[in-house]
Structure formats: C-alpha cells, structure tokens
C-alpha cells in the first residue's frame, strides 16, 4: 500500500494588496502526482522556489489542497478531522535546527512530542532513549542543546520526531545550513533509520550527492514534477537536469564530458569506481 499518494495535487497562494483584495494567484503546486510506498527512501529535488517545501507541508497537513487529493497513510488531508492523525503518521524536520529545539536539555526536547500526545511517562522515557540511540545522540541526552554542533542538533530534531513513532519522516532541506561533516552525519542517520527500522523517508534537498542512495527521485520545477526515476536514471539526463537549475555529482559530470569528447561511456555513472571500470584502461 502507498503510504503517501498525491493525485493531481494543486496548491494556490493568493497575493493580496494592502486592503486584502486578491491581487494575483500563485500556483505553488501544479497537478502533482506522487506515490510513496511504505519503507521507501524517496528524494525530492528542486531549486529554490520550485514548490518542494510546499509539497512537504502538504504531507503533514500544514497546508491542505486547493484542488486534487492527498492521502497520507490512507487518510485524506483535506478533512480537518484527520489533521492530528496525519501529523502522527508523518513527522517533519525543518531546515534550521535552532528553530525547532525548544527545551533546555536534549532528552526533554525529545520527550516533548510524545508527552504532547499523552504517552504514559514510563513509555516516554523508553521512547526518548530508543530514539536518541537510533540517531547516535544518547550520550548527549543530559546536555544542553545549544552546545551541540549543527549536525548534532539536527539529529536531536530527528530523534524528537522519531519519539512520536511516525510511519514516515519528512526531512525538508535538513542539511542546508550544515557544514560538510554535519551533512554527512544527518544523511547517514536518515539512511540508517530507513534500513534498520524500515522508516519511510522523504528527503527534500538540492544537494545532488545526497540523493544518490535513494530508491526513487522526483525533480520539481515551477510547482510540477518534471522528472522522476531512480537516481541513476535521473543523473543520466545531465542537460535536462541543468535546465531545471539542478546539477549532477562531479563524477557524473566528468563522465558526461568524456562521453561528449567521444569516449564510449554509458550514461548515469555515479561513483569513481564505476567510472574507472568503464574507462577500460586494461
């Protein structure tokens, strides 16, 4: 069964003048079709303003469809009675770690979500320990979050979502404000949760290297899904990606350039090893 299913999903923002009259309509999502199966690792790529964050906000019912439908874990997001259930099914981690950590001790921050849901105290502590261990942050459980690095803070934020035991976790550009080490930490944790706990992960990003390990990739531009496929398939379409303000990993680009210079190299090379093998140096 699909845990997330969008059919012809549309979102319109109204621009208003000073008196509140509608000046214009901006279509942020334009008939988006998207399917995510439980247990998949999905990436959504797109440039600044392509509509990918608007889509993320739909998946946990922060926004609701202007047209079309979106089902999350079998529940219609347009029905406001489903709001809480949807947010428990689909947890969200945002870009800026400093905007989503609220407590003064790491474990209290992680416990905030389940406490809000009315989980019994003993079980809250069990969940806090379990989720902090799953992101490798248990040894900081009694620390103050403001002494942590950006990558560590994002892992605490992920643990906070994990503690609510959602079926699906949406990471909305979780690494945009981190340094290269922090980025690696967060992406590694996301893959581990997917592999070891079977968590469905939706990663929204514009760093190409981060989508290499995904099961399936959607590329968005002007509110539409303009490309979709497995990473290798997506990255073999270098010129098309560039036309959507995207890029490919450096090795893929090098392979593409070599091909253009006349070498016999297949499309969609992702790693150095693959490139060396197809170079046929003997």
């Amino acid at each position: 069964m699909n845990i997330i299913e969008a059919k012809q999903l549309v979102h319109e923002f109204f621009r208003r003048d000073e008196e509140g009259n509608i000046e214009g309509i901006q279509v942020a999502l334009n008939k988006v079709d998207l399917k995510v199966e439980a247990g998949q690792f999905i990436s959504i790529l797109g440039h600044n303003g392509s509509g990918k964050s608007t889509l993320a906000k739909h998946i946990n019912a922060l926004l609701t469809p202007s047209d079309g439908t979106l089902y999350v874990d079998g529940k219609d997001t347009a029905d406001s009675n489903n709001e809480l259930a949807i947010r428990q099914s689909a947890g969200m981690v945002f870009q800026n770690p400093d905007n989503q950590i609220i407590a003064s001790i790491v474990e209290e921050d992680v416990g905030f979500g389940p406490e809000n849901m009315g989980v019994p105290t003993d079980e809250i502590w069990e969940r806090v320990e379990r989720s902090l261990k799953s992101v490798g942050m248990w040894k900081y459980h009694a620390h103050s979050p403001n002494k942590l690095s950006g990558g560590q803070k994002q892992r605490v934020a992920i643990a906070g979502v994990m503690a609510m035991e959602p079926k699906c976790i949406i990471l909305d550009e979780p690494t945009a404000m981190l340094d290269p080490d922090g980025r690696k930490e967060v992406i590694k944790v996301a893959h581990e949760l997917n592999r070891k706990k079977g968590m469905t992960v939706i990663l929204i990003t514009h760093y190409m290297e981060e989508v290499v390990g995904s099961d399936y990739v959607y590329v968005m531009d002007k509110g539409k899904v303009v490309m979709e496929g497995e990473p290798r398939d997506i990255f073999s379409r270098v010129d098309e990606l560039k036309s959507h303000r995207m890029d490919v990993p450096q090795i893929t680009l090098l392979a593409h350039e070599l091909k253009k210079s006349g070498l016999d190299i297949p499309d969609g090379i992702l790693t150095r090893e693959e490139l060396i093998n197809v170079l046929n140096l003997g």
Partner: protein, 284 residues
Amino acid sequence: MSLILDKVSYKYSTGTAYEVTALDQVSLKIEDGQFIGIIGHTGSGKSTLIQHLNGLLKATEGSIYYNGQDIYDKDYDLKDLRTQVGMVFQYPEHQLFETTVFEDVKFGPKNQGLDDKEATLRAYEALRSVGFPEDYYDQSPFELSGGQKRRAAIAGVLAMKPAVLILDEPTAGLDPKGRDEILGLISDMHKKTGNTVILVSHSMEDVANYVDRIIVMNDAKVYMDGTPKEVFGRAKDLEEIGLAVPEVTYLMMELKNRGWNVDVSATTVEEGKNEILKLKGMNA
C-alpha cells in the same frame, strides 16, 4: 598595497576556565588583486579571521596593517577601513531592511558620505553588475526569491566599491544554478576590476574552480597556504583535519594508485577530462 597580519592572536574569556584561543599567531600577507579561498572545519577560526580584516574584532595580540598603516593605531580611521574592506556575511539577505531594493543598495554609499546623485549612480552600477532585473528595483526586498535577495544584499556591499571584498559562504542555501551564478559574477567582477576577493567556503569544488590561492585554517592556525594544486596535492593532510579534496582529485589519485600516469593535481572537471583523454591517447 596589501593587507598584512603579523602574529595575530585572538583569545576570549581570558583568565577563566573557558579561555578560548580562536586565532593563534596568524601571520599572512594578502596582496592586492588576489582571489583567495579560506577553507576549514566549523570552529577552525575562519570567521574569526575574516572579522579581523575589517576591524570588527580586535586582536588581543599582534598587528594588522592595511596599505602600510597600523589599523590599531589610535589615529587610524576604522570607519574608512570598513568601507574599503567590504564584508558580505553569511545569509546577507537577513540584513536587508529598506522599503525598496534600490534604497537598500543606496544605503551603503550614502553612509560613506556620498551625495544623493553619486549614491544613486553607485546603486545602479552595483545592481547591474549582479544582474539584478531592473523591473524589481522598486520592489520590497522581502518579496524577492532567495537568490534575488542574495544578489540585492551583495549589491549593497559592492555599491561601496570596496578594494577588498570578503564573502562568508555566499552560496549557502542556494540551489546549484544560483550557486554558479553568484560565484560567476564574483569571479567576473574580480577579473574586470582587479579587486581583492576573499571567499570563505565549505565546498572544495567551488574553491578549486575559482580561486588562485587557498588558506586552510585548522585549530586557530594557518595549516596550509598555497595554490589549489599545492593544497589539494596534500589529500592525506586535509583529511586528517576533517576536510577533503575535490572528487576529481580523488579519481586521479585512484588512477595513479593503479599505475596510470596521470597528474594527481587535477582539481576541476575540465582538468580531469584532459588527463583522462591523454591516457586514452586522445587530444584534449
């Protein structure tokens, strides 16, 4: 004409158990017209270093000379230094504040004491040089897209015509095209005006593509200082301090390990391509 740092140290919380040495005996000479990249781990002292260059932080030891003058001399005009050494902070769009883009860009030159006419000319010139669309000059800077806001904010610093331009991660949070556009315009301007540019970056690929000198900071000290080829030729040393070399350089190293005669100092896609074509006996 140059910027010289002589054994500059910066310590804070001195005399307490939390004393931190953020810069430790840093000596550097930055010649006019260089395009320099500063790389280093988070907390290595990069940001502390650049904040010394326009006098935002005052060294606890050592001296800094700009064009031969000691900037810590009590007669030295720091305000003047700050208009000559322009700084674009991380996420500079957070500092936009005026009602229109044009007014925002004009604010710097007006503050420098230029009359309205001259400030207006400067603002036009700066906005044009960053490729900002003319239709949006009178728009509120808060209604722009991320990339456009970034351009407007950079234009605000360029309008002061700094002789030295410092940019702290100017592409953070931008999509790949936006990143190439911003770095491209900085590089074009550098070629045209010959100003000094200092770029703080986390991206080894960006640094390899644009700069002619790299300063590597580690643990409050200058760890390496040289051309991209010299610096990226020391992959092991860079990895030891948590940094990396560009992917293309790793590929060259692997080919070399397997006994192929390639230049391991190739850092860009273009250079890598040429090396491989040579191996295959094809002319680049």
